[in-house]
């Protein structure tokens, strides 16, 4: 599994004309968040695999090889960010990051 981000789902997009690997996939818009849940810049497009909804905090895998493995493509596809989990709880200890 490659690098993963903490993101918040901020919306979704409707797209009919797209590369085959995106067919039939739910495509969401996510923004990275800091561990204390402050939203940051850098909106990303991410394919949803866990039924994430707007406003939810999610785990986003942002690396092509992981995306192809998760979506079980036989060969590498032009896709990178995939929502792989919905976060229930974040616990950070007293260290200031």
């Amino acid at each position: 599994m490659g690098i993963m981000f903490l993101c918040e789902v901020v919306g979704s997009i409707v797209s009919t004309i797209k590369h085959d690997c995106y067919q039939g996939k739910k495509i969401m818009l996510v923004r990275p968040i800091s561990p204390d849940k402050k939203m940051q810049n850098g909106t990303m497009v991410a394919v949803d695999t866990v039924g994430a909804g707007k406003g939810e905090i999610v785990l986003v895998a942002a690396e092509g090889r992981s995306a192809s493995e998760i979506l079980k493509f036989e060969s590498r596809m032009p896709m990178r960010s995939v929502i792989v989990g919905i976060v229930d709880k974040i616990q950070i200890n007293r260290f200031k990051y």
Binding site: C21, R31, G64
Partner: protein
């Protein structure tokens, strides 16, 4: 992947042979409110987008894979047209 807006087209007759027959667009990355995000860049089109279209694109190694049959020297490839953004 990120959202982008197609600003214009680039023609280059002298170029890497692997880029033959490939459409090159000037594209401005944007956020979910269509506000510019970072610098405009040259993106390879794989879904017959047109000027003014809102699109989404992939960067990095995956950008070389938009066409089934061949790898192209691209660092940003447009992989989809956006019909609607819901925020």
């Amino acid at each position: 992947m990120k959202l982008g807006k197609v600003l214009g087209k680039v023609w280059a007759t002298v170029k890497d042979p692997k880029l033959e027959g490939v459409k090159l667009y000037i594209m401005q990355p944007i956020d979910e409110y269509e506000k510019p995000m970072g610098k405009a860049l040259i993106a390879v089109d794989a879904v017959s987008s047109r000027e003014g279209d809102i699109v989404y694109w992939v960067g990095g190694a995956e950008a070389t894979l938009p066409f089934k049959d061949r790898q192209i020297p691209s660092d940003a490839s447009i992989v989809g047209l956006v019909d609607r953004i819901d925020t």
